[in-house]
Structure formats: C-alpha cells, structure tokens
Symmetry: C2
Subunit: 115 residues, 2 copies
C-alpha cells in the first residue's frame, strides 16, 4: 500500500467510533434497525452510566438517535444508528480494512526487510 | 454472537495498540522483520516527535525493540516488533474480527429488531 493509502487508512479512522466500547456499540447497531438500552448493556458488559455516556457521545456526533418511551417499570430506551451513523460505521470498517491490508507488506523499497 | 463473545471482543482490544497511529505502526511491522524510522514516518505521515512518542509507548509496553546505529548523517533508527508485540498485534486483529462478526447480527431475542 502506498504512503497516501496508509495515511488515509489511519487518518480516516473516526475517533468517535474507534473507542473500543463505541466500536462495539456501533458495530452491533449496524446489524439491527435498533436495539434496547438493556440489550446493549448486556451485550457490552458496560455499566449503565458508561453506556449512557458513550451513547451521548455518539448522539452528539449525530451517529445515533435515542428514543425514550413509557414510565417507571415500563420505561424503555431505544437506540438506532442514524443515516450518518450507519455511513460512518461502514466507513470506519473500510479504513480498518485498509489498515489491515498494510499487514500484507507495504510497497516501500529496501529501508525495511520483508518477512 | 453471545454476550460473553461481545464482551471479550471489545474488552480484548489492546488500548496500547488500538490508538490509530499505533495500530498503523504495529500492523505495518507485522509484515516486515523490521523497518527504518524514516520509512515509518513517511508511511504514517506523523511528525518525528509524534512517531517517537508512539514508538516509546510501544517500547514501554514491550511490543517493539528500537536499535540506533551510526552517527550524524549516517545515524539510523531501526524498529522491530518483539515476539510479544507480534503476538499482541495478531491478537488485537483477532478481537477486531470478533467485533466485526457482531455486525452479522447478534444472537439476542426480541429486544432488538433485525434489519
């Protein structure tokens, strides 16, 4: 891969999405139209507070939409990727793929020794 | 993927390696036995200072070995993944693959709606 390809792959990684817990959340949400807060909490193993703060960051970035319904024991929080969030998650994995391609040997000449 | 699989995938991500620039550096080093500092600088687009600080973090974690040879204009800095670094980088991509599998629909019942 060329220098520019490597730059692009690394620089293209979206730091809002790249954080491990948010990478998990956005990746799971790619496969569903939406998910319940408790479902995401069970899947991620995050505390309620941590999951809420990660979801807030994703919401501020415009990547998820959070809908709260019901009250008391019937209260429910529903989370969906927005169009922008779905595009950003797909783009992020594309850049990760670009990075991974680097492991298949960069194009540079003799200032490094092939395996 | 089960809850424990998702936890493991996300929690297994090595934060020393996961930072975008260090993910680029370690991934490139996976495909070579070693690389010159300047080569890594060109490929990553990082400033000399930033690359040095990322390499120091990787060295402190025991993931890279840095060898300096020559002096003046012939000075050269050579960077190699250690055995631990090579294992950690491979493990990190394995966890990223595990995360990606989540995008193929988690196993959870009706508290989320399939696409």
């Amino acid at each position: 891969m060329s220098e520019s390809g490597a730059h692009e792959a690394a620089n293209g990684l979206d730091r809002v999405i790249h954080e491990p817990a948010r990478l998990l959340i956005t990746t799971v949400l790619q496969s569903v139209s939406g998910a319940d807060f408790v479902f995401l909490q069970n899947l991620s193993g995050l505390t309620k507070g941590n999951l809420s703060s990660h979801l807030n960051k994703l919401e501020q970035a415009g990547y998820v939409a959070i809908t709260k319904t019901g009250a008391g024991r019937r209260a429910r929080t529903w989370v969906e990727l927005t169009g922008a969030g779905r595009a950003a998650a797909a783009e992020h994995w594309k850049h990760l793929d670009g990075l991974r391609a680097l492991a298949d040997a960069p194009d540079e000449p003799a200032d490094h020794t092939e395996l």
